[in-house]
Symmetry: C2
DNA sequence: CCTGCTATGTTATCAATGCTTACATTTATC
DNA sequence: GATAAATGTAAGCATTGATAACATAGCAGG
């Protein structure tokens, strides 16, 4: 290929992807507030101003991270839908919550109101794409109208947020995945 | 009383309360990230270092704000419980969501993982107090066990968060309060 | 090879912020 | 009044996001 710049290393290597990878690690370890451009540049081994060649601002970097988060989210949803589970809505709900638990800081970033405030079109598009499939499946599967679909979504999203924020205290010896399954499927823990 | 310092004006007036009031205004207008101690001091009309006489750090100020938020929240919950509605759980759920909508940034701050990270005892106590009553009412009213109580909580909290984050798009002419009522009471919008 | 041209990275620097220290001023108490 | 505590100010430090000027690496065409 002649125009292989997106993949081939230039000066450093493909710095943009290296920055995103390192940023994701720092994000999950330190939280969004602890992700500074200087630390990030130091982690990758470039000068403090180098990231600005790839991201206009810190907010733009966070947006790019959130977009990759929505892409992973979409992939996880598509995979579970393609696997053809017996109860599709419950399986997707469970995947929804587990995704949040396995990508804690990233999930929070995806729904960060700070990012949504300055209407970044890339984030909007990634978010819409992710929820288009989810909305379609939930709305088509439940067939109980808008309120039921929103209630199901709210239950799943609320469970994810409460677990992330440490509001739901696990009882002794309780398996978190079993609890999620029980709540999503709306049945007692011990069946 | 001899020790009326908490209320009586000293040099400036009771600076601590003035700071909290102004901080709440800035918080709802600019978001948590936009609440700087310099702006805050300027808004109240004191020097940039004056707030540090009342709050050890920016985090301590945010904690104090969150504590007042939990106190308001507790009051709202107690009031609706004392009013003796027909369906107590639904009434409290609706109050829960409306409180979030009427105190957007404050509600988010109350559940901020940043604040929870450094275990501040005041915040923990205020949070526990607020949820003790809620947990008691939900648990005692539903009588369907832990999973049902958590599911109800998750639905209400998730609805609040999704509305705050602008994820739920209102349809043309749709009343948000009616939608909240419908979802919380789990019935169609048009009865 | 040499000359533009673009993409990328570095150095130096600025402004704003959270925070601290040393000092000044007002109030309370004896 | 004297003294000590409480409260506010002034000045400055370290860090951070952001920008500007400069330097380097690849590419294209003569």
């Amino acid at each position: 290929m002649s125009t292989s710049r997106a993949n081939a290393p230039y000066h450093h290597g493909n710095l943009r992807n290296a920055l995103l990878d390192a940023a994701l690690v720092i994000l999950e370890r330190e939280g969004e507030a602890g992700l500074g451009l200087r630390d990030l540049a130091r982690a990758v081994g470039v000068s403090p101003a180098a990231p600005y060649r790839h991201f206009d601002s810190r907010a733009a970097l966070l947006e790019a991270l959130a977009v990759t988060g929505f892409q992973r989210f979409t992939r996880a949803m598509d995979e579970v839908a393609a696997s053809g589970p017996a109860d599709l809505a419950s399986a997707m709900g469970k995947t929804y919550v587990l995704f949040a638990l396995q990508n804690r800081a990233l999930f929070r970033l995806m729904f960060s109101p700070q990012l949504r405030r300055d209407h970044r079109p890339g984030l909007r598009m990634a978010s819409d794409a992710a929820f288009a499939t989810l909305r379609h499946v939930i709305g088509g599967d439940l067939k109980e109208g808008r309120v039921a679909a929103l209630a199901a979504w709210a239950r799943v999203h609320g469970l994810a947020v409460l677990l992330l924020d440490g509001q739901i205290a696990l009882q002794a010896g309780e398996d978190i995945e079993a609890l999620v399954t029980a709540i999503v499927e709306n049945r007692p823990v011990a069946p």
